[in-house]
């Protein structure tokens, strides 16, 4: 469709976003191909080479148990991306459903749902997650669900706002007049026109979820060692920061680059999908 090519053209005009998109793509490939790229088994210990600095055999050095840092970071990217995508998927599903219903039906339903959103937003999210995680079983699945269920509110608000304006459009009235059901109106007629801001929010959301997961793992509440995640590598780095700077620097860089890339892509998407700029393009 032509729309897609216009968005692509507008996106590629922003050089930083393109760099971000390439990095994101690279990270995806790395995490998918981790078993083939990683030079060592990320959990294999080597007591003779503990805390050895970056060298030819271990490009990023080793940790306190002699495990290869590069391999651990490569495998760690799998955790980060998995958490990022699944958590955002859950957040978007929840947000879209609540936002659609709220915006479409309005009135009391809208008021009740939006007050619930306000209530959720009033919680300090990170501490809520900490509290919930410390009660529940600490595995990657719990983390994904909890992050997802505490980050859907922005999406709900965005979708609601889109619905409020779209439901007044003549094409919705016309569809209603031919007898289209509410469910079909919501999902087949209005929602496809309301998705642009959701894509943008999703991209920023992935960055946010990766940060939260890293934070949790750093505090020991996320992914449990020996399974590597960028957060729990940093914890080990903190204990050895005076003798092994590489243990803190490289996983930190990995988090920084990843989050930055997603944010750059999000910004590019936001500009490319902005309907006001879009109109200008057409004339």
């Amino acid at each position: 469709m032509r729309l897609l090519s216009v968005v692509g053209k507008r996106f590629s005009r922003n050089r930083l976003s393109v760099i971000g998109a390439v990095t994101v793509l690279l990270l995806l490939i790395i995490s998918i191909l981790a078993p083939f790229i990683a030079p060592y088994d990320p959990t294999a210990t080597d007591v003779r080479h503990t805390l050895s600095p970056p060298s030819k055999t271990h490009p990023l050095g080793t940790d306190e148990l002699g495990r290869d840092l590069l391999s651990r970071i490569i495998y760690g990217s799998r955790v980060s991306l998995k958490v990022g995508f699944v958590a955002v998927g859950i957040a978007i599903m929840t947000g879209v459903i609540i936002g659609s219903i709220s915006g479409f039906y309005g009135g009391v339903i809208d008021a009740v749902l939006m007050r619930f959103v306000d209530m959720m937003l009033a919680f300090p999210t990170f501490f809520l997650i900490l509290a919930v995680i410390s009660i529940l079983e600490q595995n990657i699945f719990t983390i994904m669900v909890v992050i997802g269920l505490t980050n859907w509110m922005d999406v709900a608000r965005l979708v609601r706002a889109e619905f409020l304006s779209l439901k007044e459009k003549d094409f919705v009235s016309a569809a209603r007049a031919v007898g289209v059901s509410d469910v079909r109106l919501i999902f087949r007629h209005i929602l496809p026109n309301a998705l642009s801001p959701v894509f943008v929010a999703a991209t920023f959301g992935v960055a946010g979820a990766i940060l939260i997961e890293s934070g949790l793992s750093f505090l020991g509440l996320g992914v449990q060692p020996p399974e590597p995640s960028w957060g729990n590598i940093l914890t080990a780095g903190k204990d050895n920061i005076e003798v092994a700077w590489w243990l803190s620097l490289y996983p930190g860089l990995a988090i920084l680059v990843t989050v930055l890339s997603y944010n750059l892509v999000g910004e590019g998407l936001r500009d490319a999908l902005d309907p006001r700029l879009w109109e200008a393009e057409r004339h």
Binding site: D170, F171, S173, A174, R176, A177, V178, G179, V180, N193
Partner: protein, 326 residues
């Protein structure tokens, strides 16, 4: 029995001014009565903001009324649900003013037109495409646009697609809400001709909403002139154009540019006594409707009772007018 009968229809919108403050009411439709017979065209004319489009939405049951009823084949449409509502949706259709806004930008023409076919199970799945092409041909479009998207079509083509969508369900009534005003003049004539052809072929009744008096004169059988949510004059087209009774109709006709032809000359002299007084001022806000006759602040022929007593719609010479002059 009238196919569609509207009686004392009212729609007020509340404008919220904040918590604890009594909301202001916009009286968009304030007691409208008319009826539409089979195979007839009833036109609703008036300035922007007089409530014409709200009437259209009420008649289609897109919004609930504040009070009053709309009878379709003798039954109140606001009481319909389930199967009866579905049957009603098949019988009454709408064409909107802006063909850019009335087609879903993310759906191809095929998707848009075939949707009612699927919902009402009008044809078998394998005949969907044939039926859509048949409908497109009927409105003067080819099968080449089948998989195009609305933004790839011109305004006239889009309006034809909208018309095709209404024809899908073989409706008895089509509500046309200013179907021409967003189109170029040359296209307007084509679409108007198309609507007339369709009316002849399928005996569809039209509720035709417009502010273009030339079009209404040419197209409609009866006319209701609306002002601030009320019908102020209701008459056969020839009678109304022959001699407008209500002063508002008079100034409305005199402010429309008239090109003298054999068709128009016979009524032109009769409205000349309004011609020197083109309508003054703006339509008052429907939140704050003037007391007495709502038209009196702008009326060239107002007199004693106009600002005190609300005139009733009364029968004068087989037509209806709400004015103290009669």
């Amino acid at each position: 029995m009238a196919l569609l009968k509207v009686s004392s229809l009212r729609k007020y919108f509340a404008v919220k001014k904040g918590l604890m403050i009594k909301p202001l009411l916009v009286r968009a439709v304030d007691g409208v009565d008319f009826s539409l017979d089979e195979d007839r065209i009833f036109a609703l004319v008036g300035e922007s903001g007089c409530g014409k489009s709200t009437v259209a939405r009420l008649v289609l049951r897109l919004i609930p009324p504040t009070s009053g009823e709309v009878l379709f084949q003798g039954m109140n449409i606001f009481g319909f649900n389930g199967g009866a509502l579905k049957a009603f949706r098949k019988s009454v259709q709408i064409i909107f003013q802006d063909p850019f806004a009335s087609l879903n930008p993310r759906k191809s023409i095929m998707d848009t037109i075939s949707e009612p076919l699927k919902i009402h199970r009008i044809v078998e799945k394998n005949r969907l495409k044939d039926k859509v092409v048949e409908l497109l041909n009927k409105v003067g479009l080819g099968s080449d646009i089948l998989y195009r998207y609305p933004h790839e079509l011109s305004g006239g083509q889009r309006q034809r697609v909208c018309i095709a969508r209404t024809l899908v369900v073989s409706p008895k009534v089509i509500v046309a809400d200013e179907p021409l005003s967003a189109l170029d003049v040359s296209i307007q004539a084509q679409i108007l001709n198309l609507l007339q052809e369709l009316k002849r072929e399928y005996k569809i009744s039209f509720l035709f909403i417009s502010h273009d008096l030339r079009v209404v004169h040419y197209f409609s059988d009866t006319i209701g002139v609306m002002y601030l949510g009320k019908i102020v004059e209701y008459a056969k087209t020839e009678d109304l154009f022959g001699e407008p009774f209500h002063p508002y109709t008079g100034v409305l006709l005199s402010s429309a540019p008239v090109i003298p032809t054999s068709d128009t000359t016979h009524y032109a002299p009769r409205i000349t006594h309004y011609a020197s007084r083109l309508i003054q001022g703006e339509v008052p806000s429907p939140i704050d409707i003037p007391p007495g006759c709502p038209f009196h602040p702008r009326c060239p022929r107002r007199f004693e009772p106009c600002d005190k007593i609300v005139p009733e719609l009364k029968e004068v010479d087989e037509r209806f007018v709400s004015c103290h002059l009669y």
